[in-house]
């Protein structure tokens, strides 16, 4: 049984990472000073381009990678000193689909629960398998399952010991839209039960859909951590594209205050503005346009996605 000291860390963060560095033996600096706090019950999305350090960060927290320096606490427990308590609190779904091909679904999930030192509990495993729509496959060998089902088996394994913190490393890579939606619903349901969820993803719409808070990591450093809504407000832009009846050569000086741009040889006029700066009023601008005999034939309006914000942040 976990031989942890009673650390009354009830109010502790789910994850506290301080000054974490990791340089691999080949000299690659995967993590270069990460400080991060993740509150209990949050859904936290970690975004970053390939090779940014997302998986290294997760593996360091889960005990698979040895950090070069720095400290990690999981639910208040130091993951180096009180590793049993720290690791007991974590469920990990790694990026790669790695399963024991010849085991049955039931056995592999029960095995995971045993590894984490939990007593047998068929009812819990039954519930997990049913929630993940794996119940009718419980006696199948894993190699006979489809990719999406294998992914769900891995989630079931991670949940088998009832962790408080769940890491999902690219959970929906290679998963079809329907299954992705159902996974999102399951993640939300988990959060309802108090589980903290940390996910990395390449699908930014996934982060946009799911996360309470977003961390952007690039070259081993956290570029930013922010509430998702705040991030969208702060960095989100809106654009209006006016397709003109008659192309214009230049923007009349009267419109200079609006920061307009011409496109397609003057056939289109683009107005970019920040969603939450109400300094400009479109109807005012329309009046000026009309006064200058600029007549839009069509107006398109769009807001920037998290994806665009992300690309701007990592300079990709």
């Amino acid at each position: 049984m976990p031989d942890f000291m009673p650390d009354p860390a009830v109010n502790a963060n789910a994850i506290t990472i301080s000054a974490l560095y990791k340089t691999y033996d080949n000299g690659f600096k995967a993590l270069a000073g990460i400080d991060l706090e993740i509150k209990r019950g949050e859904i936290f999305a970690l975004l970053g381009p390939n090779g940014a350090g997302k998986t290294t960060l997760i593996n360091a927290v889960c005990g698979i990678v040895q950090p070069s320096s720095g400290h990690i606490r999981v639910c208040g427990y130091d993951n180096a000193v009180q590793y049993r308590a720290a690791r007991s609190a974590i469920g990990l779904v790694p990026q790669e689909l790695t399963t024991d091909a010849f085991e049955s679904v039931w056995n592999t999930v029960s095995f995971s629960r045993g590894l984490f030192g939990k007593p047998k509990n068929p009812a819990t495993i039954e519930k997990i398998l049913k929630d993940l729509s794996l119940w009718d496959k419980k006696d199948e060998q894993i190699r006979k399952l489809s990719g999406g089902m294998k992914r769900r088996v891995m989630i079931a394994k991670a949940l088998s010991h009832e962790p408080q913190v769940l890491f999902l490393d690219e959970p929906t890579a290679g998963v079809d839209v329907e299954l992705r939606k159902s996974m999102w619903a399951q993640v939300r349901a988990l959060r309802e039960t108090g589980v903290t969820v940390i996910l990395t993803t390449h699908y930014i719409e996934e982060a946009e859909e799911m996360a309470d808070r977003i961390g952007v990591i690039n070259k081993g450093q956290l570029v930013l951590t922010e509430e998702k809504n705040a991030l969208m407000q702060k960095m989100g832009k809106r654009q209006m594209v006016f397709t003109l009846r008659d192309a214009i050569q230049a923007i009349p000086p009267a419109l200079s205050a609006y920061g307009l741009a011409l496109a397609e040889n003057g056939a289109k006029l683009i107005y970019t503005y920040n969603t939450h700066q109400a300094s400009h009023d479109v109807s005012d601008m329309m009046d000026v346009l009309k006064a200058n005999n600029i007549r839009p034939k069509e107006i398109d309006s769009r807001s920037s996605s998290l994806e665009e914000i992300f690309i701007e942040l990592v300079g990709a």
């Binding site: 049984m1 976990p2 691999y24 033996d25 593996n59 889960c62 005990g63 698979i64 990678v65 040895q66 590793y83 049993r84 308590a85 690791r87 007991s88 974590i90 990990l92 790694p94 790669e96 790695t98 399963t99 024991d100 010849f102 085991e103 056995n107 095995f111 995971s112 629960r113 045993g114 590894l115 984490f116 030192g117 939990k118 007593p119 394994k157």
Partner: protein
């Protein structure tokens, strides 16, 4: 101690044995039978008794050793190498398990399987040659200690190897020759003096000798020497593993 975790690993590994029952148990039994037909019945009848022990009976302890050395190494090395190869090792590393617990699980299962196979080989042998075991306690002692020690060595190989060829390399190039030259099929005392001296450098000689002593009260070296040597090998294996784990060698990046 995370006993449930140890049990989970042990059970998983034994499950692999039962799943592959054919190659796990049938193949050592078949090869033993072949050895007995060739060396025991066909050639053995023309070889004179060694230390008054008929040749067929003389080779029984050596054959058991030959089998459990090979089985221990291949089982334990495969047991830990395969999850490293497929990536399922992530789960073992992220579980609340100490290195000692991981070893007990994997090495315990590999050694159990070896002991089981050793016993099966012995039972098979009993059908072919008259056999007696004069010191059952020492027989079990050598059987168990050798299984554990060579499973530990197999575990080391399984962590060291970074490809399937390497997994075969040491058993093929080192263990098999050492076993064949370790007195499985002859007594070291039958060798010319120079080669007898060289043989004394072969660790397997001490294992076979001690094991054979437990059957017939006759060994190439004294029981005490054999006991000392097997204990030394176990200690060395444990020391190497301790070093590997302390440095995270090839397991935790």
């Amino acid at each position: 101690m995370n006993w449930r975790g140890i049990w989970a690993i042990y059970n998983f590994e034994m499950g692999r044995t039962w799943r592959t029952i054919g190659q796990s148990i049938a193949s050592p039994v078949i090869s033993t039978v072949l050895y007995f037909i060739v060396f025991g019945a066909a050639i053995g009848s023309r070889i004179q008794a060694i230390n008054d022990i008929p040749y067929g009976a003389f080779i029984v302890p050596g054959l058991v050793m030959l089998t459990i050395l090979g089985q221990s190494i291949s089982n334990a090395s495969f047991g830990i190498y395969f999850p490293r190869f497929t990536g399922t090792i992530y789960e073992i590393l992220s579980a609340p398990l100490s290195y000692v617990e991981i070893i007990i699980g994997y090495v315990g299962a590999a050694a159990s399987k070896s002991v089981l196979i050793g016993v099966i080989v012995l039972i098979t042998a009993a059908f072919f040659v008259p056999m007696r075991i004069m010191h059952p306690f020492w027989m079990l002692f050598f059987l168990v200690m050798t299984s554990i020690t060579f499973s530990l060595m197999g575990f080391i190989i399984g962590i060291w190897a970074d490809g399937f060829e390497k997994l075969q390399l040491i058993p093929l190039l080192i263990v098999t020759p050492l076993t064949f030259l370790g007195g499985s099929f002859y007594s070291i005392n039958m060798l010319p003096e120079f080669w007898r001296g060289v043989s004394m450098l072969n660790p397997v000689v001490y294992l076979v000798s001690g094991f054979r002593w437990s059957f017939y009260e006759h060994g190439d070296v004294s029981l005490a020497t054999s006991v000392m040597m097997i204990t030394a090998f176990t200690t060395i294996s444990i020391a190497i593993i301790a070093w590997m784990f302390r440095t995270g060698y090839r397991l935790r990046k």
